[in-house]
């Protein structure tokens, strides 16, 4: 565990010490090496489920895919940020990469925490670098509002979580995940206990986000620079899902009744945010709402507490992380050329950038959950377990799948097909850096087709 954490911490002095012309190549190769070593976590060997154990951190089949995704994402973020930060002075570029790295450190500590309060502190700690990335390096004036919404929505949910965790600690004496699954289940019946249940989950539902508490997400994703959008979509939303999966163990038996409204919100959110996507003019906003839609499915899958639900949720989280991040990178390639997120401004790009169209095609197919990609595996497992829970959900989930296919196709056709507008007179050809970025996003997704056991979680 420290083999990954300490090198990541030492990346910070490296960033400041390396000569300016080697900054980006050094940080990229350093973080790539760290991410390749992090893949060793995927082979978990212990019988008890927890591997790579030290007193404060451990990994288990639930956290390992998310950790690998987090570590994989740092080189991708560095790759994506190289162009738009190029005009800035070198110390600002170093500060930017330091922010990305500190975010990485907090995320690694969050996903590998064994004590729930440590998870909480790291969960909150990720807010500060993300806030600075969004509000300092975003491009439009709305970024201040986006940062405020992001910070306050998340904190309003997570402060009750802190009180709920402290109450749990009083009750059970410990908050170590290693032993919490073995404590006898509590007698939870009073109204105060129901408030406690809500307090435990609210923070993660806001983070995921649940439809209804999702208003921060379109703002934050749209206003963030590319690295901010990538890390938000790929990892920070999954913190919510991961937290929910960890907390569910202790929330029995209240969840059977209390989760109804949240499952309904989640499923209705799939339909609603999918429909909004069909009417979007802003490309990043479309991808952001599509994230809400996918995470609604994840939330529903977790809340019904079946093994297929959990597995599907985890697979969908990983697959969506890679897909959504890829789509944001594609949107960024448009933005860097036209400095606009409006879709109709840069249409028919297949004529001009045909190789990029190939990446758009694969990413859109992944978004609409084409077999045999893991996106489909996750969605199908969640839809099946929801169907088993209640036949009526098939109306919502099936409709949601249809709408997802609709807007993914819409996004592809809008940006790539059709006539090239007359005002597009000079666009940079695609950089090799951008091709590499897209390949590094989509190749893991395609490779996961052949060994999905890696991201199955506990049922492996």
């Amino acid at each position: 565990m420290l083999k990954i954490l300490l090198p990541t911490i030492m990346l910070v002095p490296t960033i400041w010490a390396v000569p300016a012309k080697y900054l980006w190549s050094t940080t990229l190769s350093y973080s790539l090496i760290i991410s390749l070593i992090s893949l060793t976590w995927l082979k978990s060997s212990a019988e008890s489920g927890w591997s790579f154990l030290n007193p404060y951190m451990a990994t288990d089949p639930l956290s390992t895919p998310l950790l690998a995704l987090t570590c994989w994402l740092l080189p991708l973020m560095i790759l994506a940020s190289q162009n738009h930060t190029a005009p800035e002075p070198i110390s600002r570029q170093r500060t930017y990469i330091t922010l990305l790295t500190s975010l990485q450190i907090f995320l690694i500590m969050a996903f590998s925490a064994t004590e729930v309060i440590m998870f909480y502190i790291m969960f909150e700690a990720t807010l500060i670098p993300t806030l600075v990335i969004i509000t300092r390096w975003g491009n439009q004036t709305e970024r201040l509002n986006a940062g405020t919404y992001f910070l306050f929505y998340t904190l309003a949910g997570s402060l009750p979580l802190l009180v709920a965790l402290l109450l749990l600690q009083n009750n059970t004496g410990t908050l170590s995940l290693l032993t919490l699954q073995y404590t006898p289940s509590m007698q939870l019946s009073s109204f105060a206990d129901k408030l406690w249940w809500a307090g435990c989950l609210l923070a993660f539902l806001v983070k995921m986000p649940l439809y209804g508490a999702h208003l921060w997400l379109p703002k934050a994703h749209v206003e963030a620079p590319i690295a901010g959008s990538m890390v938000l979509a790929a990892v920070l939303l999954k913190l919510g899902g991961y937290g929910m999966m960890r907390m569910m163990i202790m929330l029995e038996p209240l969840t059977k009744e209390l989760s109804y409204p949240f499952i309904i919100f989640a499923l209705w959110g799939v339909i609603m945010t999918g429909s909004i996507c069909l009417r979007q003019t802003d490309l990043k906003s479309l991808i952001a709402y599509s994230s809400v839609s996918h995470m609604g499915l994840v939330a529903a899958g977790i809340l019904i507490q079946t093994s297929w639900g959990f597995t599907g949720a985890l697979i969908l989280m990983i697959a969506h992380g890679l897909t959504s991040s890829a789509l944001f990178c594609l949107a960024n390639t448009n933005y860097e050329r036209t400095h606009s997120r409006t879709m109709i401004l840069a249409r028919g790009l297949q004529m001009v950038l045909p190789l990029m169209t190939a990446w758009w095609f694969i990413a859109s197919l992944a978004n609409l959950a084409l077999p045999p990609l893991p996106n489909l595996m996750g969605e199908l497992m969640i839809i099946t377990s929801l169907f088993h829970w209640s036949w009526w959900t098939i109306a919502l989930t099936g409709g949601g799948t249809l709408i997802t296919a609709g807007y993914s196709l819409y996004m592809f056709l809008m940006t790539q097909r059709g006539p090239l507008p007359a005002h597009i007179i000079s666009l940079d050809p695609t950089h090799s850096r951008e091709h590499l970025l897209m390949a590094l996003h989509l190749l893991p997704l395609i490779l996961l087709i052949s060994k999905p056991e890696l991201i199955w979680g506990w049922t492996a």
Binding site: T95, F106, Y120, I121, M122, E124, A125, L127, I128, V132, T135, R136, T141, L144, G147, T148, L151, F152, L155, A156, L159, P160, L162, V163, L166, L167, Q169, N170, A192, G199
Partner: protein
């Protein structure tokens, strides 16, 4: 100011607090508090500006009233129980009067109205002394009395956190913002007083460090309102990059030091069965966080030419020692991992 006079006044300040710290007799404690008040009055009025004189007058009147109430309460206690020991206050009437007198001394809601106006009239150095040193002596007394009426203290605490949060939202003057932040933090300190005085002491000490950092940052930038903060990137770029962390630490965000007192207080409150109080206090901290965030936006996260809020300032060479600022900033940002050590250190 004449250096000899300044030396005498600072000596008086130090002596007053020391006398209060060392006393076990109420009269001696009262004397120390009065010495503090009298010593700081010339410091506050040294610039002879009408606004400063107004602030001094308001400060004198409120502190004198509080000290008189304190004297009256201790005499009442002597009459009722026959002794003058500070730690032996048991009768509820003197206890309540002393609690309210000390609340007026430090600026707890609902006795807080003087603090923003007084702080606004002072220059940043005197304001720093008022916010930090002048809180020590009353807290020495607060920590020693064993208050038994739980509801009063919880109401004082919650009212302070809410008023401190809401009051600061409409301010553009930095000293008033820091005054409301002071009120809010004092509220947190009082909330946990009856359950664990050592956590109150920890909160006080971390607050002193954080607020010293903030005052010293503003002093270095010679800025007194949000508009002039916007040009601080030109005066001290590295400090401008660090100041959001100081402000967010004041706001109580993990993993910065400011989270430590909030965490320990919420833990103690939940242990005592006051979970709704804990939740309300935690959510009221979000109000204060809003104006700290606004300060960070104005100072660091937006940059010229995006914000032409402040006119081009004179950048004269600064004679300020940077060592105190450096130390307090380091402590403000990095002290959270030492939480167990610090709370063990402060538990008797």
């Amino acid at each position: 100011m004449n250096p000899y006079i300044l030396a005498i006044l600072l000596f008086g300040l130090g002596l007053g607090t020391t006398i209060t710290f060392a006393s076990s007799h109420w009269l001696l404690a009262w004397m120390g508090l009065e010495m503090n008040t009298l010593a700081i009055i010339p410091l506050m009025a040294q610039h002879h500006h009408p606004r400063a004189v107004e602030a001094t007058t308001k400060y004198f009147l409120t502190q004198a009233a509080a000290a008189a109430t304190l004297l009256f309460a201790s005499i009442t206690n002597a009459w009722l129980t026959g002794q003058w020991e500070i730690q032996q206050i048991t009768h509820p009437l003197p206890t309540t009067m002393i609690t309210l007198a000390l609340a007026l001394k430090i600026g707890l809601a609902p006795l807080h109205a003087w603090l923003p106006e007084v702080l606004q009239g002072l220059d940043l150095t005197t304001g720093l002394i008022l916010s930090t040193w002048q809180k020590l002596a009353p807290f020495a007394l607060i920590l020693q009395i064993q208050p038994s009426n739980s509801t009063t203290l919880i109401i004082l605490g919650l009212a302070s956190t809410l008023i401190g949060g809401w009051g600061g939202l409409n301010q553009t003057q930095l000293r008033k913002i820091l005054a409301y932040s002071s009120i809010a933090h004092l509220g947190w300190m009082i909330l946990v007083l009856q359950f664990s005085p050592s956590i109150t002491l920890l909160t006080l000490l971390t607050y002193l460090i954080m607020t010293s950092s903030t005052f010293l940052v503003f002093k270095l930038n010679k800025s007194t309102n949000i508009n002039t903060l916007a040009t601080s990137w030109a005066k001290a770029p590295a400090l401008t990059a660090l100041t959001p962390l100081i402000l967010l630490s004041l706001g109580g965000l993990p993993p910065l030091t400011g989270f430590m007192p909030k965490w320990l207080i919420l833990q103690e409150l939940t242990k005592q069965g006051l979970a709704p109080t804990a939740t309300l206090a935690a959510l009221s901290a979000l109000l204060s966080l809003y104006f700290y965030l606004r300060l960070s936006y104005a100072m660091t996260l937006t940059i010229s030419p995006n914000s032409l809020l402040g006119t081009a300032p004179w950048r004269l060479p600064s004679t300020q020692l940077t060592y105190p600022l450096a130390t307090s900033t380091a402590l403000t940002i990095c002290l959270l991992p030492l939480t167990p050590a610090i709370s063990a250190l402060l538990t008797p």
